[in-house]
C-alpha cells in the first residue's frame, strides 16, 4: 500500500511493537535495493495471519510484492516462491502464534533445506489478532483469556527450538531499537540461506512486556533483555546453546553456522550439473514406450 488506502481498515494499536518492525523493514529494503541497484519488485514479503502479518499492507514508500495467505503457512509459501524463482528476495513476516504454534512444523524442513529466505518473527507472547490468548511464548503464570489460572504450560524457548531445528543463522532484536533491527534484517537478507531475526515486539493491548524487557528501576524490575557480550563466538553452536539457555532474552547475533552456506536451490542446481541430467522431451519419453512389433 503505497499511500493511505481508504478501503484498508486495519490499524495497529498505539504503541504496538509492530510499528518499529515495519519501519525497520522499510529501511532494510531501501538499503538493500540501493546497494544492489535492484528494483523493489524483486522482493516478496510473505505474511502470516495475525496483527503482525498486516505489516505487508502497511509498508510505505516503494512497494515490494506481497502475499498474505493463511495462518501458519508462510514458510511453505516462501519455499514455493524460491523453488522456481531463486532470483527473488523473499522476506517472511510472522507472529509467534503463526510461526511457533500452528506453523512450527515447517521450521525444521526449511532449515534443513537451507531455504534462502529471511524470517522476521514478531514475538509479542500472545495471540493479538484473536484478542489475547496464550501463545507458546507467553510467560508462565500470565492470565489470558484462555489461561484462567495463569499460564500452566512452560514457556517455549524459541532460540533453543530454532537451534535444535537446524537453523543456521539466528539473530535476536527488539522492535524498539529500529536502527539495530534494520541492520540485523539487512544482514540476514544478505546471508545466503535460512535466516531468522527474532524480534521482541510487545503487544500493548494484551501483553505489554515493555517494562519486563527493558526493566524498570522504579518498580524494581530487572531487564529481561541483555546485549550479547562481544566475547560470544556466534560460530560456535555449543556457545550459542549456552547463551540462550536462560529465561532472559539475548539481543544480537546468536548463531551463524561456520563454513559456506549453500542454499537449497543451489544444492539442487549443483546436483543436476553433477548428475549430468538434462530434460528429455515428451516425444523422447513417449518414444521410449513405443511398441515395436
Amino acid at each position: 500500500m503505497s499511500k493511505r488506502n481508504p478501503l484498508y481498515d486495519f490499524k495497529w494499536c498505539p504503541g504496538c511493537g509492530d510499528f518499529g518492525v515495519k519501519v525497520a523493514i522499510e529501511q532494510a529494503l531501501a538499503q538493500r535495493t540501493a546497494e544492489r541497484g535492484d528494483s523493489i519488485e524483486k522482493t516478496v514479503i510473505v505474511a502470516g495471519i495475525g496483527c503482525s502479518g498486516n505489516l505487508v499492507h502497511l509498508q510505505e514508500g516503494p512497494q515490494p510484492f506481497g502475499i498474505h495467505g493463511i495462518h501458519g503457512r508462510t514458510l511453505p509459501v516462501a519455499y514455493g516462491i524460491k523453488s522456481g524463482r531463486p532470483d527473488l528476495n523473499v522476506l517472511v513476516v510472522s507472529g509467534d502464534g503463526d510461526f511457533l504454534s500452528i506453523g512450527a512444523e515447517h521450521i525444521g524442513p526449511q532449515a534443513r533445506r537451507n531455504l534462502d529466505v529471511t524470517v522476521v518473527v514478531m514475538d509479542n507472547g500472545i495471540y493479538g489478532l484473536t484478542k489475547g490468548q496464550a501463545s507458546p511464548t507467553t510467560n508462565v503464570d500470565v492470565v489470558t483469556s484462555t489461561t484462567r489460572y495463569g499460564k500452566l504450560d512452560e514457556k517455549m524457548n524459541p532460540y533453543l527450538f530454532f537451534l535444535g531445528a537446524g537453523v543456521g543463522y539466528l539473530n535476536s532484536q527488539m522492535s524498539s531499537r529500529v536502527k539495530d533491527l534494520a541492520a540485523a534484517i539487512k544482514a540476514a537478507m544478505d546471508y545466503p540461506g535460512f535466516s531468522i531475526v527474532h524480534v521482541q515486539s510487545p503487544c500493548t493491548t494484551y501483553n505489554d512486556t515493555y517494562a519486563l524487557l527493558k526493566g524498570d528501576e522504579k518498580q524494581g524490575i530487572e531487564p529481561l533483555a541483555f546485549p550479547i557480550p562481544d566475547s560470544h563466538d556466534a560460530g560456535d553452536l555449543i556457545a550459542a546453546v549456552n547463551l540462550v539457555r536462560t529465561n532472559r532474552i539475548p539481543i544480537g547475533q546468536i548463531y551463524r553456522r561456520e563454513g559456506e552456506s549453500v542454499p537449497g536451490h543451489e544444492r539442487l542446481a549443483r546436483a543436476k550439473v553433477n548428475a549430468g541430467v538434462g530434460q528429455a522431451s515428451v516425444e523422447e519419453l513417449l518414444t521410449g514406450m513405443l511398441i515395436t512389433a
Binding site: 481498515d9 493463511i70 511453505p76 514455493g80
Partner: protein, 563 residues
C-alpha cells in the same frame, strides 16, 4: 477363435502376481495385441491377498474383463476367493507345491518354484506359469520369446544367459500345459497396426500430459496411489529450470504450490483423499488469491485412511468444494488412459486461463493400469499461459469483473496476493459491497471454462447414461451391448465435470432420466446434477473394485424399464 483372453495371477503380495500380469500384457502388446491390466493388493509390502489381471484382445479394450479365462493361483486362499470369477469352461493353473486341486479336469498343477530352482533360475517361476497359460490359450509362444529377448537385452554381459534361462522357463511351462492336454479356444491372431502405439501406465500418461502442458514445478507428498506420479516427475522432470520437491506434508505441498504459482510458474502436485483433505485451506487461498495450480487427486477408497490401494470415485464433492466458503473448483476427470494424457494438458490450460486451482480427478484403477494406446499426437497439444500484466494496470491486480492480467513478482504491478477479502490492489477489506463484487468476480471467471467437450450418441432417447471417470469403460461396454440388443438408451460422457459444458447441461436437463454409474455410496455426481436441475439417478457400487460390465448392463436395463 476367441477375441479375448483374461488372465488373473492371484496370490500374496510380494509373490510377483502383479508383475506376472504385467509381463504377460507387455509380451502380448509386443506381439501386436491390445492389452489392459488391472491389479488389486492390500496396503502392505509383503503378504496379504493380491492379484493382477491382464486382458489381451484382438480388439481395442474398454475394461479389464468381468470373468476370467485363466486363473493362475499361488495358494489355496487365492484359488478359493478368485474361483467365482472364473468363467464356465475356464482353466486354472496352480502352484502344486502349495496345494492340490482334486478335480484336475480343468486345472494344471505346476511345481513352478521347484522347476525354476532346478533350472538354476529361481526368479523364473512366474515365466513358467506364463508359458503354460500361453500354450493353453493359443498365444504365440514365439512372440513371447521375442519379447523376452527384447525385455532382457540391457547391454550387460549376463544378458544372453538370462534371456536363455527365461526362454527355457517359458518352454517348461509350455510343456507342462501340453502334458496336461488342456486348452482353451485359440486367441484370434493379433491385429496389424498402421499407427505407432505406446505401452503406458495411467500415471505416466498423466505425468507426460503435464509435461506436454508445460508443468514447471511439481511438489508432492507420498501417498498411495499417487506416489507413482511424484516419483515419475522426480525421475523425468529434470531440466535445469524445472523443480521437483518432496514436501513435508500435504499442507506444506499446497502452500508451496500457491507460492510457486504466485511466482509465475506452472505448478502441479499429485495426492489422494487424505492429502486432498489437508489441502482444503490452501486450495481456498489459491481460489481467493487467484493463483493457477493443478492438483491430481488419484482417488482411493475413503474416508480417513480408508482403502489406500483400492479404487473408488468418492472425492467428487470434495474436489469441487475442497474448503470452506463460497468456491467451486474446476474438476476434470479422465476416463481412459488416453484421456489421462489430454486431461493434464486441459487442467493446466484451465488453471492458467481462469487463474485459479483446478483438480484433476484420477483414480487408482486408471493410474495403475498399463495399456497400449496410440502414440499421442503431439501436434495437437495446445499450451496456454496466463495473461501477464505489463504494468498498465499498476497495482490494481484484482480490477474488473473477471480474469485480469497477472503481475509476476520481479516485474511491474506489485500488489498483495491476499487470502482475506481484498480490494483491487489486494489490501484486506471487510466492506459488504466489496465482498459481493469480489465473490461475483471469482465465480464469473469460471465462464471462461465453457469449452469442455463431450460425447453424445443416440441422443433422441429420453433415458441416457452419463458415466464419469474410470467407470466410462464398463458403462460404454454395457451401453454398446444394450444398443445391440435394441434397448433404447442414450449415451453422454464428458471429462469436464465442473463446470459442465453448457450445451451438455442443457441437453441433460431435457431428459426424463439420466443414469450415472459411479463408484461411491452417495451418488455424488448424480446429486450435483440434481442440484443443477437434471433428473439424475446414480447407479452405485462401493466394493473398492470397478464395475463389472454385466452388472451395469443389468442395472441399466432394469432402470430403463422403470423398475
Amino acid at each position: 477363435m476367441s477375441k479375448n483372453l483374461v488372465v488373473r495371477f492371484a496370490g500374496e503380495g510380494g509373490q510377483g502376481v502383479v508383475g506376472g500380469a504385467e509381463l504377460m500384457a507387455q509380451a502380448a502388446a509386443q506381439g501386436g495385441y491390445h492389452v489392459l491390466t488391472f491389479s488389486t493388493f492390500p496396503s502392505q509390502i509383503k503378504g496379504g491377498p493380491a492379484w493382477g489381471q491382464a486382458r489381451i484382445s484382438s480388439e481395442p479394450i474398454l475394461t479389464p474383463g468381468d470373468y476370467l479365462d485363466v486363473l493362475v493361483c499361488q495358494n489355496q486362499y487365492a484359488y478359493d476367493t478368485n474361483l467365482p470369477d472364473l468363467r464356465e469352461g475356464g482353466l486354472v493353473v496352480y502352484n502344486s507345491e502349495e496345494f492340490e486341486i482334486a478335480d484336475n479336469s480343468r486345472a494344471i498343477g505346476i511345481a513352478a518354484d521347484r522347476m525354476a530352482r532346478e533350472a538354476g533360475n529361481p526368479l523364473a517361476s512366474t515365466i513358467i506359469m506364463i508359458g503354460a497359460v500361453a500354450q493353453a490359450a493359443g498365444v504365440s509362444v514365439s512372440a513371447l520369446e521375442a519379447f523376452i529377448e527384447k525385455r532382457w537385452t540391457r547391454g550387460r554381459a549376463s544378458d544372453a544367459a538370462i534371456i536363455q534361462g527365461n526362454i527355457n522357463a517359458l518352454r517348461m511351462g509350455v510343456e507342462e500345459a501340453k502334458k496336461a492336454g488342456l486348452a482353451l479356444e485359440d486367441l484370434e491372431p493379433a491385429p496389424s497396426h498402421d499407427i505407432p502405439r505406446v505401452m503406458i501406465r495411467g500415471f505416466e500418461a498423466s505425468a507426460l500430459g503435464a509435461m506436454a502442458g508445460g508443468v514447471e514445478s511439481f511438489i508432492g507428498y507420498p501417498i498411495s496411489p499417487a506416489t507413482t506420479m511424484l516419483v515419475y516427475m522426480e525421475q523425468n522432470l529434470t531440466g535445469a529450470e524445472k523443480f521437483v520437491g518432496q514436501a513435508s506434508s500435504e499442507i506444506e505441498a499446497i502452500a508451496s504450490l500457491v507460492g510457486a504459482g504466485y511466482s509465475g510458474r506452472k505448478v502441479m502436485t499429485s495426492t489422494a483423499g487424505p492429502g486432498l483433505s489437508l489441502m482444503g485451506e490452501g486450495l481456498g487461498l489459491a481460489w481467493m488469491a487467484e493463483i493457477p495450480l493443478v492438483i491430481v487427486d488419484v482417488q482411493r477408497g475413503g474416508p480417513a485412511t480408508g482403502l489406500p490401494t483400492k479404487t473408488e470415485q468418492s472425492d467428487f464433492i470434495m474436489a469441487m468444494n475442497p474448503g470452506h466458503g463460497d468456491m467451486s473448483v474446476p474438476v476434470i476427470a479422465p476416463g481412459t488412459t488416453e484421456e489421462a494424457f489430454w486431461a493434464s494438458i486441459a487442467a493446466l490450460n484451465w488453471a492458467e486461463r481462469y487463474q485459479g486451482p483446478v483438480i484433476l480427478l484420477s483414480e487408482a484403477a486408471i493410474a495403475e493400469r498399463a495399456q497400449d494406446i496410440p502414440m499421442p499426437d503431439l501436434s495437437k497439444v495446445k499450451v496456454e499461459s496466463r495473461t501477464v500484466s505489463g504494468g498498465a494496470m499498476q497495482n490494481r491486480r484484482y480490477a474488473g469483473d473477471s480474469v485480469s492480467p497477472f503481475p509476476v513478482p520481479g516485474g511491474p504491478g506489485a500488489y498483495v496476493a491476499n487470502g482475506s477479502e481484498h480490494d483491487e490492489q489486494g489490501d484486506t477489506t471487510h466492506l459488504p459491497d466489496i465482498h459481493v463484487t469480489m465473490t461475483n468476480r471469482r465465480f464469473r471467471k469460471l465462464e471462461v471454462l465453457s469449452d469442455g467437450t463431450f460425447e453424445a450418441e443416440n441422443t433422441g432417447s429420453d433415458i441416457v447414461v452419463l458415466p464419469w471417470g474410470g467407470s466410462k469403460g464398463s458403462a460404454r461396454a454395457a451401453w454398446e451391448q444394450l444398443q445391440a440388443e435394441g434397448v433404447n438408451v442414450g449415451w453422454y460422457y464428458t471429462m469436464f465435470l465442473n463446470p459442465l459444458p453448457p450445451t451438455l447441461l442443457a441437453e441433460l436437463k431435457t431428459k426424463k432420466k439420466v443414469l450415472v454409474p459411479e463408484l461411491n455410496y452417495m451418488g455424488q455426481l448424480a446429486g450435483h446434477l440434481r442440484s443443477l436441475g437434471v433428473n439424475a439417478e446414480a447407479i452405485t457400487q462401493y466394493t473398492g473394485l470397478p464395475f463389472k460390465v454385466s452388472d451395469l448392463k443389468a442395472e441399466i436395463s432394469r432402470r430403463v424399464q422403470g423398475q
